[in-house]
């Protein structure tokens, strides 16, 4: 069982969360021509890192907020959690 520290609600079990994938993916800015390659990278291509991975989770059975979680994909250790709009250094 993973325990995720929701920045809004505190420590909760993974059963309350749903996973949202890589949080480092940025949607292309729409104020310019977006190439197929850029869309491709945004929609499909992923680094899928082994080790520290910044990812989105939604506290679906809690506050229903999206949050960011820094987790190790090899050990499942969770290091830090952030609100969705927090910049991660």
């Amino acid at each position: 069982m993973l325990y995720i520290n929701c920045p809004h609600c505190g420590m909760r079990s993974q059963n309350e969360f749903s996973y949202g994938g890589d949080a480092s993916v940025k949607r292309p800015k729409l104020n310019k021509e977006v190439s197929d390659q850029e869309w491709d990278n945004f929609v499909y291509n992923r680094k899928s890192l082994r080790g520290k991975h910044l990812e989105l989770w939604q506290h679906i059975s809690g506050c229903r907020q999206w949050i960011k979680v820094e987790r190790d994909t090899a050990t499942h250790e969770i290091f830090r959690t952030f609100k969705a709009d927090e910049e991660v250094a």
Partner: protein, 418 residues
């Protein structure tokens, strides 16, 4: 190579089976090969075998970080089927079914292929319609499919829950009678033994550290046991695809996820077929040892840990008990996990890459084991001829950017969408 036969068995009995040849050798890496296959799993071993057998390319090495057959080919639930609707998947898998039927003879190794049939249960009228459509598509591609009504299903699997108060009553099912199971370790060992006998070097405990690429062309690989020159390199590393892609500065439409399976204590024969639950993701069959072999959903988050987590197992087995209540009486014997190369549309990739001489075989999601022979055969063709075969033409790497997705069930990385 010694042939495995009743005569050799009797002959070796006189020396207490102490004098059998090794099934494959343990060579030191040579300086150069025509083709290097990275990954000594089912697909890598099959690729090397078909390179030697079909294309007469025998200066081949298989580079494996651990030991052969230690990854997903030894961690799956051994199901073999071709019950796909889309042409790309159906024709590819049905080609594989032919190879499965001949495999034990072909490899001189008993892979215990058991065509016991697979039944996908339907739990609503809409699902029956969808299965009728899929069954018709399968039959158009020459794949056997039978639509069963509730009574027919009940005759085959009376132990399923046919009471009327259940949340997901069984309306019927789609059966592929020629589908089945095989002994997964034997598949890896059979391919390894034959590949070795034709001159392929199987190099274990050898980790790939990097690639030697210059002017858009592959020249070789760097490993923990030294540099190896190669004209062509094929990647067959399933859940480790992204790790190697990073070394090649490639970003792929693949995420690595964790998938669990489990077996119960052995019981007397109760289930003849493979059965899948249609209102969730759960499947079960009974092994020759009598264990109920079960599996279902991904754990749901990116992972390289080859071990699972209990909440998913609990969720999967809840579905199992809803389908076959007697499963709740069984004790769990073992659970394990493997790491899956989940492609974004749920279908695999067997293709060339933008680097000349580098070939990619990945994205097998839940269905890598059954694809072993067809994947090896088509990948060997792609490498040997430097062009894709019509069977794997649809499994291109650029289909994501061109929009030619093969979204059989939408079972890619985002399982919650399905």
């Amino acid at each position: 190579m010694q042939k495995y036969s009743i005569f050799n068995l009797v002959k070796n009995a006189f020396s207490n089976h102490q004098n059998w040849d090794l099934a494959w050798k343990d060579p030191t890496p040579k300086e150069e090969y025509d083709v290097v296959i990275i990954g000594g799993g089912g697909h890598g071993l099959a690729t090397a075998y078909y390179l030697a057998k079909e294309h007469n390319i025998t200066k081949v090495a298989i580079i494996e970080k651990g030991w052969i057959g230690g990854g997903n080919v030894g961690r799956n639930t051994t199901i073999i089927r071709s019950n796909y609707m889309h042409d790309e998947n159906g024709l590819f898998s049905e080609f594989g079914m032919d190879l499965w039927r001949k495999m034990s003879q072909d490899l001189n190794y008993n892979v215990m292929f058991s065509p016991r049939g697979i039944i996908n249960l339907a739990h609503s009228d809409a699902q029956m319609n969808a299965y009728a459509r899929r069954g018709n598509s399968m039959r158009l591609n020459g794949i056997d499919a039978v639509l069963l009504n509730r009574e027919q299903v009940k005759e085959i699997i009376p132990m399923a829950d046919f009471s009327h108060n259940v949340r997901f009553p069984i309306f019927g099912g789609l059966m592929q009678p020629s589908a089945g199971t095989a002994r997964h370790d034997a598949v890896a060992w059979g391919y390894a033994r034959q590949a070795d006998s034709m001159g392929v070097d199987i190099i274990q405990n050898c980790e790939v550290i990097g690639f030697d690429v210059s002017a858009g062309k592959i020249n070789g690989i760097r490993t923990s046991r030294g540099n190896i020159k190669a004209k062509k390199v094929g990647l067959c590393v399933a859940g480790s695809t992204n790790i190697l892609a990073e070394k090649l500065n490639m970003t792929l439409p693949i995420e690595t996820h964790l998938l669990q399976a489990c077996v119960s204590e052995p019981i007397k024969p109760v289930l003849d077929n493979v059965v899948t639950f249609g209102a969730g993701h759960f499947y079960v069959s009974q092994s020759d040892k009598g264990e109920m072999v079960m599996g279902g959903d991904l754990d749901g988050y990116n992972s390289y840990a080859q071990r699972g987590n209990l909440p998913t197992l609990q969720h999967v087995l809840t579905e199992g008990i809803a389908m076959m209540p007697f499963l709740s009486k069984l004790k769990m014997l073992r659970t394990w996990g493997g790491i899956m190369d989940m492609s974004m549309d749920g279908s695999p990739i067997i293709d060339k890459t933008h680097i000349e001489g580098l070939y990619l075989n990945c994205g097998w999601c839940y269905g890598g084991f059954k694809a072993t022979p067809a994947s090896g055969w088509t990948f060997a063709h792609t490498i040997a001829q430097d062009r894709v075969h019509e069977l794997n033409a649809g499994y291109s790497l650029n289909r994501f950017s061109t929009g030619h997705l093969i979204d059989e069930k939408g079972l890619g990385t985002k399982t919650w969408i399905s």
